[in-house]
């Protein structure tokens, strides 16, 4: 003991540190194994973490930034609301963006206060995207609600369990106001039991080493992380770095982009993320509450830091960061603004703007933007069971953006946090038969390092007529950007083929569906990094051989000449092409033929 505090030996520190991280991983696994919603059980639309009683972050390895990195906000609200009225066995539920930290109503959070020897010591949170949250349309991505109350059931932090006893009246009220009530009960149970599991595992650690030693470890963890984080920031030249990104529209005022503009001020070992220049709060559903902006912004900054810190982030990572988001801005909306679409539209753009700004600050770690989510929520009847279903997946999304040094991978979505499903499982679950899931050549941001490929996804509706909300879709007009001279991702398109009729479906709309409709999603890949004319000609040759890049694009975009038959690189012509003045080329989807064309820009 020194100064009354137990001394922390390296092995205990390492065990406790990794122990907390592992608990979070196991918790996520626990939800996956027990949930029945496709989003949670198969696609990982879940977040978990551990905080100290005062809201200080201990571990946050698993989740979507906006679902949990701002948990200090809800913990603050809980303290204000309940004061001393918290007990072992309590479970608090909330999805209220304005009295908690939920980014939108379908993200239900379950928070359990953890007591050790009668003292409130930790909070754990599990938040997952549930099947339904009431409101005008299932899934929570309804584009045109009047206000937050029209978007669905809005639950402030309230107890669903007190001292281990379920609050039945509260539960009845909640489950009577959502669709799929049995399924919702299962998912609720899954998340609540996961918080209990987390509590048990945390207490095992505390019992093993004693609360004083664990506390000393947490302090040491935070101290070390903060030191490393500050060193990282200090290595970036002081200055103001700008980034911007936009969503196609806000779902109410149509075809008018909404802009996120960020200035990142690096000064010594601190960083301020300033959203002052972003658009004002919107009438449509793309507004972010402060907690969600905070989570997304801080998570995005951490993603740009050195990878060696990746498994060790905690409160110390957040301390050198300050956020500025004026009230009334689309990044800090006032009640009762609608927020349903904001995780995809505006949330994704906050990440893109920050990554763009920091790519300028740290070109060695530059990252291009990832593909936009091309999601939809389809609600109809499954004739096999005669039950309603809601379907949403990430299967139709494009791919990863490139990073300095590597091409983007083909396949990963949402920065690798969530998963794609299997075709086979989806066909068993939903009355849609898959027709196509393949790469589309050229539909990606070119670059010295190119993005992962675009995806051509098609399926036919074998269920009833129904409706489809495209609130979770984006990127028909405003596209993910390339950096350091890399190409932006091309524009994506969604169509419905109904007999001979082809209907274009834009993001943030409602669309009716009929039996036999073929849904066609042509999703672009992501942004590129660096000038494509500097790409290794052999890499271009390989891309052409494999059908990632067409012969035409090889010549026009990458300035590499290949023999049409043998695909041998024509070194002489390539040198000629590369010596010429560069012309930017746009890759465009033809809505008639569904083929791609290359258009030279003046």
């Amino acid at each position: 003991m020194t100064n009354g505090r137990p001394e922390v030996d390296p092995i205990t520190l390492s065990t406790v540190w990794h122990g907390f991280q592992t608990i979070c991983r196991e918790m996520r696994h626990h939800v996956e194994r027990t949930a029945q919603s496709y989003l949670m059980a198969v696609l990982h639309d879940i977040s978990v973490g551990l905080w100290k009683a005062n809201g200080v972050t201990i571990a946050m390895p698993e989740g979507l930034f906006d679902q949990f990195l701002g948990a200090r906000f809800v913990i603050e609200d809980i303290h204000k609301r309940f004061g001393e009225d918290l007990y072992p066995g309590d479970v608090i539920v909330t999805n209220d963006p304005y009295h908690g930290d939920s980014p939108h109503l379908p993200d239900w959070g379950f928070i359990r206060p953890i007591f050790h020897r009668g003292e409130l010591t930790f909070f754990t949170l599990v938040r997952g995207h549930v099947m339904d949250t009431g409101g005008s349309f299932p899934g929570g991505y309804f584009p045109n609600a009047y206000d937050i109350h029209a978007e669905g059931l809005c639950i402030p932090p309230i107890k669903l369990y007190e001292r281990g006893v379920p609050c039945r009246d509260v539960a009845e009220l909640i489950f009577n106001n959502v669709r799929f009530r049995d399924e919702m009960r299962i998912d609720t149970q899954a998340m609540i039991s996961t918080t209990a599991f987390g509590e048990r595992r945390v207490l095992e650690i505390v019992d093993r080493y004693g609360p004083e030693l664990v506390d000393a470890c947490i302090e040491e963890m935070i101290k070390r992380t903060e030191r490393a984080m500050r060193a990282q920031i200090a290595a970036i030249p002081d200055g103001v770095y700008y980034g911007e990104a936009a969503t196609d529209d806000d779902g109410t005022v149509l075809d008018e982009p909404v802009w996120i503009r960020v200035e990142i001020v690096v000064s010594g070992d601190e960083m301020t993320i300033d959203f002052t220049k972003s658009d004002a709060q919107r009438p449509g559903f793309v507004n972010r509450v402060l907690a969600a902006t905070y989570g997304t912004a801080f998570g995005s900054v951490l993603m740009m830091m050195d990878a060696s810190l990746a498994d060790y982030h905690n409160e110390g990572s957040l301390r050198p960061l300050t956020i500025v988001a004026p009230e009334g801005s689309v990044t800090n909306a006032r009640y009762p603004a609608t927020v349903g679409g904001s995780p995809v539209a505006v949330g994704g753009q906050i990440t893109d703007a920050i990554v763009e700004a920091l790519s300028k600050a740290c070109p060695g770690r530059a990252q291009a933007a990832w593909a936009r989510h091309r999601g939809d929520y389809t609600f109809a009847n499954d004739p096999r069971t005669d039950e309603p279903y809601v379907r949403t997946t990430f299967d139709y999304d494009g791919s990863a953006g490139a990073v300095a040094g590597y091409d983007g991978a083909t396949g990963p979505v949402v920065h690798g946090v969530v998963l794609r499903g299997n075709v086979e499982e989806a066909e068993i679950r939903f009355p849609w038969k898959m027709l196509n899931l393949e790469i589309i050549p050229d539909l990606m941001g070119a670059g010295r390092w190119r993005a992962g490929a675009g995806i051509d996804w098609r399926a036919v509706n074998q269920g009833s007529e129904g409706r489809m909300a495209t609130g979770s879709s984006d990127g028909d007009e405003m596209v993910p950007k390339g950096v350091l001279g890399g190409y932006d991702s091309p524009k994506s398109r969604t169509f419905i083929q109904r007999g001979d009729e082809r209907i274009r479906v834009k993001p943030h709309r409602m669309q009716e569906l009929r039996p036999g409709d073929v849904l066609i999603k042509l999703s672009s890949g992501g942004g590129g990094v660096g000038d494509p004319r500097e790409r290794d000609p052999l890499a271009v040759q390989r891309d052409v051989r494999d059908g990632f890049v067409s012969l035409e694009a090889a010549e026009k975009i990458y300035a590499v000449a290949l023999d049409a038959e043998s695909l041998d690189v024509d070194d002489q012509r390539t040198a000629q092409l590369r010596s010429r003045q560069a012309t930017r080329v746009e890759v465009v989807i033809d809505g008639e033929t569904l083929t791609l064309g290359l258009r030279e820009l003046g």
Partner: protein, 696 residues
């Protein structure tokens, strides 16, 4: 007579169990034709009992065999050129995967190379055909396309073809018909059907597993065929059983279509041997390590159970067949030391292998861990493999010296740096599977195996603060030992009972009977007495609507209500709640047939040991903590139960050397295992508890 042979990257290990005792042997692996090394080691065993190879082999009833051939092919990407035939319009499943490789990888780390599939896109062929999830054929197989694709694959020089069609787990017809076409057009190609390798729903996992199987299958099959022929030619009349990564066993014929199950087939047996030794001490929390010439494997055993997983990634590939949960690192005695761009000493993953081997073997100038161990005096120059391989100290020193010259380090310092680097990276691998899972390593005992495990085991333990290290009698050949003592098991799974809540008891019973009959047939081929086999039945079930299942045992004479009752109980036990109001779906039926092997014969000695001095064969000048020290050397074969001595000491045996560092005391137990205990265990609660555990 029972014999096991485990072929590692550098050495081929052999354990022979006769009526009286256990004998262990080692011979160099022969990578160009691994069966030669296998016959070499058998020849050695024969020689020990004064027999010819033929006489010896003729007496063998059962030969157990594990090999790292498949793993090496996959990790070094030296497998076959494979083409993939799949349902048209879905040919990118292998590349798109289900997203990022490993969700354990942090979202805060985005700078990583993109995945390069084993089958590049131009060798993936879409075939018009479609089966639905019900098993119903919607679009008949276009055999002309299969033929055209096969010819195209041949023209590209492919050596193997994997076939994976959507929903083939529900109906194998199209895959099997396509296979017949391929075999007709290209009889020399190795062909794998996804539904034969892994008959479960989920195309990505199934296709990926099938492609890996095709990638390594040709070489594995060729090898096994040749091996069996050679053994027979030498008069072998017993059964040859191949060890699988799941710790189950198969006959050679059963392996051809499913080579993927042989990945890490040797290492999968080691935990069983470690557990057997641990149990005799009352230690049920064990870290089993196996350090051979090429790789370092580590497996965590908690509360006496060896965990398996179907969620494994081997290198960059998803392999969804069941595997013992082992973590592997490219660090062994033969690992090559090098200097990185920051001027730091690094070790592995490149290995000098069996040929040319470390510089000390006299065929190369490659500085390896073995060379450093020799320079430091830990290894005997004249008693390596009982003197069969004489080590060239000067050559080893020259190689290590040349390495050090790159960064201005002297010979001794460079050797220490190589030794330390290897130790730290192996300790890191232990941390990965233990500490990073939240387990405190100090409450575990380390069971060290492998030829190089003797010298490095205690150093790793000291680095991590693990208080107890066990070197089993079979330490140098731990995997081979595991094969000899573990039960002979096989498992069958029947799937496709999707979304059905009312499975009649008769249907379940009939399914189980059918599976048991199939297993009995296999056991017969294995030469196992059917009366000795016990069959355990289980089902995988879940609440309707869920995506993941829970396995429960099916007991004889139990009705449906009782079975479901136990499902709810089990669910409650695992997840802390249950949903008795919700319908339960049965997804899979499993039958596990197994037969225990007689425990390995050993002579337990009681009474007072002879004088320790009699086991002492001399001393060796070692470099310890940077200073030269003359360290007493004991011969393991001469040590007797009850002997006790303090480090630093060295224990040489015919197949390995154990380094007892200064911080440890060594003792020999009744079974002649050597136990090391950390003398000044760090005073934490965890350590105190671990140290207080009963020792013998």
């Amino acid at each position: 007579l029972r014999v096991s042979v485990d072929i590692g990257g550098t050495f081929t290990d052999c354990v022979v169990e006769s009526e009286r005792a256990i004998e262990t042997y080692k011979a160099p692996t022969t990578p160009d034709d691994p069966s030669r090394g296998l016959l070499d080691v058998l020849d050695k065993a024969a020689g020990a009992s004064g027999e010819s190879l033929e006489q010896f082999v003729a007496r063998v009833d059962r030969l157990f065999h594990g090999t790292t051939l498949g793993t090496n092919l996959l990790l070094t990407r030296r497998g076959a050129k494979v083409a993939f035939l799949t349902t048209a319009h879905f040919r990118d499943v292998l590349e798109i995967r289900r997203g990022v490789r490993n969700l354990g990888e942090s979202v805060f780390n985005q700078v990583r190379p993109p995945y390069q599939p084993l089958v590049p896109r131009y060798l993936r062929f879409g075939i018009p055909e479609r089966t639905l999830y019900t098993g119903e054929v919607e679009l008949p197989l276009d055999e002309m396309s299969v033929e055209a694709a096969t010819r195209a694959a041949l023209a590209e020089g492919c050596e193997a073809i994997a076939i994976g069609f959507l929903h083939s787990y529900a109906n194998q017809e199209h895959e099997h018909r396509a296979k017949a076409v391929v075999e007709r057009v290209a009889p020399d190609l190795h062909v794998v059907c996804s539904s034969d390798v892994l008959p479960t729903c989920g195309e990505f996992e199934r296709f990926s597993t099938a492609v890996v199987s095709a990638y390594i299958g040709r070489a594995v099959s060729t090898y096994l065929r040749k091996l069996e022929q050679e053994l027979r030619a030498h008069g072998f009349g017993g059964t040859l059983l191949i060890m699988l990564s799941s710790a189950l066993m198969r006959t050679v014929d059963q392996c051809h279509a499913r080579a993927v199950e042989l990945l890490a087939s040797g290492p999968a047996a080691a935990p069983a041997a470690a557990l057997a030794v641990g149990k005799s001490f009352g230690h049920l929390d064990l870290i089993e390590i196996d350090m051979g010439g090429t790789s370092f494997d580590v497996c965590v055993i908690r509360n006496g159970s060896i965990l398996t997983t179907t969620g494994a990634w081997v290198g960059e590939e998803r392999v969804a067949t069941k595997m013992v949960d082992i973590h592997s690192l490219g660090a062994g005695g033969g690992s090559i030391a090098w200097i990185d761009s920051l001027g730091l000493v690094r070790v592995g993953p490149q290995s000098s292998g069996a040929d040319p081997g470390p510089a000390a073997y006299g065929k190369s100038e490659l500085p390896t861990v073995t060379d450093a161990d020799l320079v430091l005096g830990y290894l005997p120059a004249d008693f390596f493999l009982g003197g069969e391989i004489s080590l060239d100290v000067d050559r080893a020193a020259a190689a290590i010296e040349a390495l050090g010259a790159e960064i201005g380090l002297g010979l001794a310092d460079t050797a220490v740096a190589v030794f330390q680097t290897a130790t730290v990276s192996m300790a890191g691998a232990v941390t990965e599977v233990c500490t990073k899972q939240g387990h405190d390593v100090r409450s575990f005992a380390l069971v060290a195996g492998g030829g190089a495990g003797g010298i490095h085991g205690a150093a790793i333990a000291e680095h991590l603060g693990i208080p107890t290290v066990i070197f089993p009698t079979a330490q140098p050949v731990l995997s081979a030992m595991g094969m000899l003592i573990m039960e002979i098991g096989q498992e069958l799974t029947k799937v496709g009972v999707w979304s059905r809540t009312e499975v009649p008891a008769e249907e379940l019973e009939a399914t189980f009977q059918e599976m048991i009959a199939a297993e009995q047939e296999t056991f017969r081929l294995m030469g196992v007495e059917l009366a000795e086999v016990s069959f355990a039945r289980s089902i995988s079930a879940r609440y309707q609507g869920q995506f993941h299942d829970v396995a429960i045992d099916v007991l004889g004479g139990e009705d449906r209500v009782a079975l479901l009752g136990r499902f709810h109980d089990r669910y409650q036990e695992i997840y802390g709640y249950s949903l008795p109001w919700r319908a339960v779906e049965i997804l899979e039926c499993h039958v596990r047939g197994s037969v225990s092997q007689a425990p390995a014969a050993h002579v337990t000695q009681t009474g007072m040991p002879g004088a320790l001095e009699e086991a002492r064969v001399g001393e060796r000048r070692c470099c310890l903590r940077g200073t030269p020290v003359d360290v007493p050397v004991y011969r393991r074969e001469l040590l007797q139960p009850g002997h006790f001595f303090a480090g630093p000491t060295l224990i040489d045996s015919r197949t390995s050397t154990i380094l007892v560092p200064e911080a440890f005391d060594a003792s020999v137990d009744a079974d002649r295992n050597v136990i090391l205990r950390l003398r000044h265990a760090v005073a934490t609660k965890a350590c105190a508890r671990a140290a207080a555990e009963p020792s013998a």
